[in-house]
């Protein structure tokens, strides 16, 4: 089995969402150990030793991020990024649904390490039931003395506030998240200053992903060195990969980093569905570049996948079988970015609009070959020129798909319809849809 269960080890235990069961599984022991026998600086150094890198997309070393906080400036704040809206991504939801107290414990450990008196959990609006669950769990933890004044008899006090978003992908970007939390339109801020220096309410702030924080109880309990022994040298620990698309068993699977992608696909996802072959996959969610079957033997290692021209991003693996139209997929992603562009900068606001218009006409087979060049030009004028990465990433999948499936894009030009879907209909004449 490719699976390595660390964060998911107790998933499925009856009642794990209640504090009693979580404690029976060893829960809150990490927080207890941190408060009783480690100084905040020792926690930071343990996390540095672990080598854990952010699971929210950028992969920045967590311990290092914490150490950017200016000395002796207080108060500081911790923001938990539970905005999870990357297309293809659903691991943070699983971590909250299945083991909410693990996240709360990790949040409190991080708050202790950076000495934050308040931690905010920013959860996307669509995760309504998950927000209610977290709110209930926070109250349970408060009643048990893990949240509030003088936690477990120490002199550390911390409150946890669960804050619901209202439908905006951009609020996952850390500075937009902060704006949104301040009660504003969620638009990104200019960096520097980075949130570590000037963040929420102008105070030093750390933003960390749900999965990043869910690792902390394990790092504190078993030690940073142990954690670093799992995975590869620069991609330590495990990750939850959200597997979806044309596979036999979609779901989230936790594997040690370094596991070959093929093992994840064959063993956990049980291979491509309907006995078909793989055409392409996206290793990091909607923002990341397309990879091909020849990349299946790459290890799930952030730097190796980056070298291959894509990224593990937020850990979403979308698999596409041989019948998939890459123009259709690109069009949907471009639609997404157009819808989610916050409107702050022109290249993204206007660029995604043009991109979407061109992609819709291409998918309908109405574009000319010359206009296809316009698509590249527009993407060129966006990539690296937008205010925040949303606009840049709005070009990555399309451009990589255009490169890898050049003929398929050209074939759409003037075709008066989608040639791939036409072929599929001829292949499977009777079947209307493409359901499993």
């Amino acid at each position: 089995m490719a699976e390595y269960r660390l964060l998911t080890k107790d998933f499925g235990t009856d009642g794990l969402q209640t504090i009693d069961v979580y404690e029976r599984c060893g829960g809150y022991e990490g927080l207890r150990k941190a408060l009783r026998s480690l100084t905040p600086d020792e926690v930071v150094s343990e996390v540095k030793t672990s080598g854990v890198r952010g699971r929210g997309g950028a992969g920045f070393p967590t311990g290092m991020k914490w150490s950017f906080l200016p000395k002796d400036v207080h108060p500081r704040y911790l923001c938990v990024n539970a905005d999870e809206s990357e297309p293809g991504c659903f691991k943070d939801r699983a971590l909250i649904d299945e083991n909410p107290h693990q996240l709360i414990e990790g949040t409190l450990i991080a708050a202790y390490a950076i000495q934050a008196p308040i931690a905010f959990i920013y959860i996307r609006g669509e995760y309504h039931d998950q927000r209610l669950l977290l709110e209930r769990c926070v109250e349970e933890a408060r009643a048990a003395g893990y949240i509030g004044r003088g936690i477990l008899g120490s002199d550390f006090s911390c409150d946890v506030i669960v804050h619901g978003g209202a439908g905006a992908y951009i609020c996952g970007e850390e500075t937009a998240l902060i704006d949104s939390l301040e009660g504003l339109r969620g638009q990104p801020r200019l960096k520097p200053p980075f949130p570590a220096v000037k963040g929420l309410y102008g105070k030093p702030t750390v933003v960390n992903n749900v999965e990043t924080l869910s690792n902390l109880p394990h790092i504190v309990l078993r030690g940073g060195a142990w954690f670093a022994s799992v995975g590869t040298e620069k991609s330590t620990g495990t990750r939850l990969f959200c597997c979806s698309g044309h596979i036999n068993r979609p779901g989230t699977y936790e594997v040690a980093l370094g596991t070959p992608i093929r093992e994840l696909l064959e063993e956990e996802c049980r291979g491509v569905w309907k006995g078909r072959s793989l055409k392409a996959f996206q290793p990091g969610g909607g923002s990341m570049q397309v990879l091909l079957p020849e990349h299946l033997d790459l290890p799930l290692d952030m730097d190796v996948v980056a070298k291959a021209g894509s990224a593990l991003g937020a850990g979403a693996m979308v698999f596409m079988d041989e019948t998939t139209c890459m123009v259709d997929v690109s069009m949907r992603l471009v639609d997404f970015y157009q819808h989610e562009s916050c409107g702050k900068c022109a290249p993204c606001r206007e660029g995604t609009y043009f991109e979407a218009d061109l992609m819709h006409r291409l998918e309908r087979g109405e574009l000319t070959t010359a206009e296809l060049t316009t698509l590249s030009d527009i993407c060129d004028n966006m990539n690296g020129k937008c205010f925040c990465p949303l606009g840049d990433t709005a070009t990555w999948f399309v451009m990589s798909a255009y490169q890898a499936f050049h003929d398929e894009f050209e074939e759409h030009c003037g075709a008066g319809g989608c040639p791939v879907k036409r072929r599929n209909r001829e292949l499977v004449p009777a079947a209307g849809g493409d359901r499993g």
Binding site: G125, G183, L184, T252, V329, H339
Partner: protein, 182 residues
């Protein structure tokens, strides 16, 4: 005359006092208004502004940024269907056309009897492992087929007005789908 009930106003004040700065309570307050009115009316937003010591235009500017707030009244239930990649790969388009036929109105519309407002969305809902997926009144419904959609809509329609979001409704739906072997 206040349009918000004393309970809603109290909830907004409770939210306001949770945060280091009152303004942070804008989003939760707007949720409270939408919970009561079903949408954000100008009068409701003006009351939020008054309670959070802001101007109405500041509150409206925030409200218009976020896609989950409604600027007009809709049906008793809200259905949101994902058409992003993972769902599309597993038949989201078929679900969309089924809903359109079954509810008799295009995406964004409300049924003649006022029961449902439905829309398709390019926003991935975070349910790609159970694609194709939708949310009904913020609650996930996954691994959809046209038959499952029908069963869900029937059950939701039959739910008493007093309890549109209740957990027992979702439980009934789950039981019904299991019995039907879907």
């Amino acid at each position: 005359m206040n349009v918000l009930t004393p309970e809603t106003r109290a909830e907004i004040e409770r939210q306001r006092d949770r945060y280091p700065q009152a303004r942070s309570a804008v989003l939760p307050s707007l949720w409270a208004v939408q919970h009561q009115l079903g949408y954000l009316s100008p009068e409701g937003m003006a009351e939020v502004a008054e309670l959070l010591w802001l101007t109405p235009s500041e509150v409206e500017a925030v409200a218009s940024f976020y896609s989950m707030y409604f600027d007009r009244p809709g049906g008793r239930h809200h259905v949101l269907v994902c058409i992003n990649v993972s769902c599309a790969l597993r038949g989201a388009d078929e679900i969309v056309s089924h809903l359109e036929g079954r509810l008799g109105c295009p995406s964004g519309g409300t049924t003649a009897d006022g029961e449902f407002t439905w829309e398709q969305t390019v926003e991935c809902l975070g349910a790609c492992g159970g694609a194709p997926a939708m949310q009904v009144d913020h609650h996930f419904q996954e691994n959809l087929t046209p038959e499952r959609v029908d069963a869900i809509l029937d059950e939701v329609r039959a739910a008493p007005a007093s309890e549109p979001h209740g957990p027992s409704l979702w439980h009934r739906i789950a039981v019904r789908l299991r019995k039907a072997g879907r």
